[in-house]
Symmetry: C2
Subunit: 339 residues, 2 copies
């Protein structure tokens, strides 16, 4: 596989990107194509004794930052590492693309450079979240604040295909609709209409799911509009952060707790790890014509390596082709929002 | 103060309700009026040696359960302990009402028995959540799934008055609007229009707040539509539950972690307590003509006692009267949704 990596996206670029690329080359044998300033990449690699074997470089000068408007990727920053990498992907120079850069810019680039699949009205950023039963997908996680029922139906299809084929090893993913209660009649207009669409689909729809059940892992795909999806994702992150900080503080309260902490530290570290996005490998952008993975903004080498692995699995599973088929079938059924 | 208590609402009724009432009588000197079957109350009290001093009983036979339709409170279950208690409140037999029963039924009873304040289009259930900086209010937390900007403005006013006068000791509460980012231009139509209303109000509006910051306590009042508010509240509960369970499991992993746990148990218990709704005392129903407090469905005596205390503080602070004044001022300003 040939994976294109935005070498200048994210808080720890380019060093951790190059390190992660080297780990992926060594461990998986993929070719990694680094998009970014060649001179800087070679200098950083040399200074840190990172071999560039199995890598290629797409030389460019510019970088798009978190503070730039996402749309500037198409004009002012069309020569940024992200834009250059995405154009190379669209032209077929690689099988998948990974960036830890601006989320908004990735959605813009996916939509207008890589381009949407025909019949998909909006690309969705699908967050992969840790749960008690392994990773689950939240789709949409913030790209689309206002949604229609047909959009949520499409998100469910795309998420179901990804989670079944890339993460679940072929086991049909359980699809749940985020709602304020589990009864069929819960929610507003958007949820009621989406419920009907999902109930009448051929997906493994398990009904409405309350936010409280998400961390327990009661569904593999949680379908939501981008507003409430973002609230769910961010609340989970914030709550886990505040709790883990409180526990760390509790461990250093006095000499007795410090001794106690020595014994339990390993186990609690394991919990932190199981609730970490580092392990999961990144969020897929679904609904575009090639595999795009968004790595966490603060991703380090280990997370970058995992994101490259997941990007390759995304490409190998033929997810894009399966989404194309599913969406084409919607069009034949004349699916509409019933409004 | 005379506080009316639904003695048959919640998972642990009537025993824990009666116990909690006895604690409140003893500790605060309030009179507690128990709504529910008198024979059963007297029998349970006697069997458990709970003195009924300082209590009165409103005898009735029926109970509304979690499985009954909320609306049935007004007809089939109009002689339930909740309906009888709320009618007594409306008639002025008590200063405030507490129930651990069905949330939906409490909202229906508040709206149609206790009745809305003139100018308030919807009553809001305001959850009180633990944060790193003390309790914060989430309004609405699930009663109103579809909201208009003027409703969120009213929720903000009511929440601000409650948090300033009942919880904050007069310090103006920081009001934040739940959104997908902190910039003024974030969110959908509902958030953009509400932002303008709040910015031009006389409240201590601190702007948009992301869900991630809520557990850190960056606002005292978090204003949200009932759908995303419910997602926030339930995600926080679910995440904290799953994390604390994982930690408990980690402590019992082997003999060494069990020894370690002995040292840190007290401190970690403190965290659990600080993230517990038991301590906070219940969720106020705001926008109705008398103080109504919803205690947690699984409330035990200690939580019931706290809910009674909070209900009395709610009444003493004159919150209802202040909301009446604020809402009357809106009408004078000819406030509308600008749609």
């Amino acid at each position: 596989m040939r994976i294109i990596l935005d070498a200048f996206g994210g808080d720890n670029a380019p060093l951790e990107m190059i390190k992660g690329a080297a780990l992926a080359v060594k461990e998986y044998g993929h070719t990694v194509i680094l998009a970014g300033n060649e001179a800087t990449i070679r200098k950083v690699a040399q200074e840190n004794s990172i071999p560039l074997d199995g890598m290629e470089i797409l030389d460019c000068d510019d970088v798009i930052s978190m503070h730039d408007a996402p749309r500037s990727l198409l004009r002012e920053h069309k020569n940024s590492s992200m834009a250059v990498g995405m154009r190379a992907l669209a032209e077929g120079q690689g099988d998948a693309f990974v960036s830890a850069g601006s989320t908004g810019a990735i959605v813009v680039g996916g939509t207008f450079i890589v381009k949407r699949i025909k019949g998909v009205s909006r690309a969705a950023l699908a967050a992969i979240m840790p749960t008690q039963q392994g990773p689950a997908m939240l789709i949409d996680s913030g790209a689309n604040v206002d949604c229609r029922p047909s959009m949520l139906h499409c998100f469910a299809q795309m998420g179901s295909i990804y989670m079944t084929d890339v993460i679940g090893g072929g086991k049909p993913a359980r699809v749940g609709l985020l709602n304020v209660g589990t009864e069929d009649t819960k929610g507003g207009d958007l949820q009621l209409k989406t419920f009907e669409l999902l109930k009448n689909s051929n997906m493994n729809f398990v009904g409405n799911i309350e936010a409280r059940q998400v961390p327990y892992g009661d569904a593999d795909v949680i379908v939501a509009d981008g507003f409430s999806g973002n609230v769910l994702l961010k609340t989970m992150e914030g709550t886990a952060e505040v709790l883990m900080k409180s526990i760390k503080k509790a461990f250093t309260a006095n000499i007795f707790t410090m001794i106690g902490a020595l014994f339990v530290k390993g186990q609690v570290g394991g919990i932190k790890k199981s609730f970490s996005t580092e392990e999961v490998g990144g969020a897929p952008l679904l609904g575009v014509t090639k595999p795009v993975i968004k790595a966490h903004g603060n991703a380090k080498a280990f997370a970058v390596k995992n994101a490259i692995r997941v990007a390759a699995e995304f490409a190998a599973a033929g997810v894009v082709e399966k989404i194309e088929e599913a969406v084409a079938a919607n069009a034949e059924e004349g699916q509409a929002d019933g409004e």
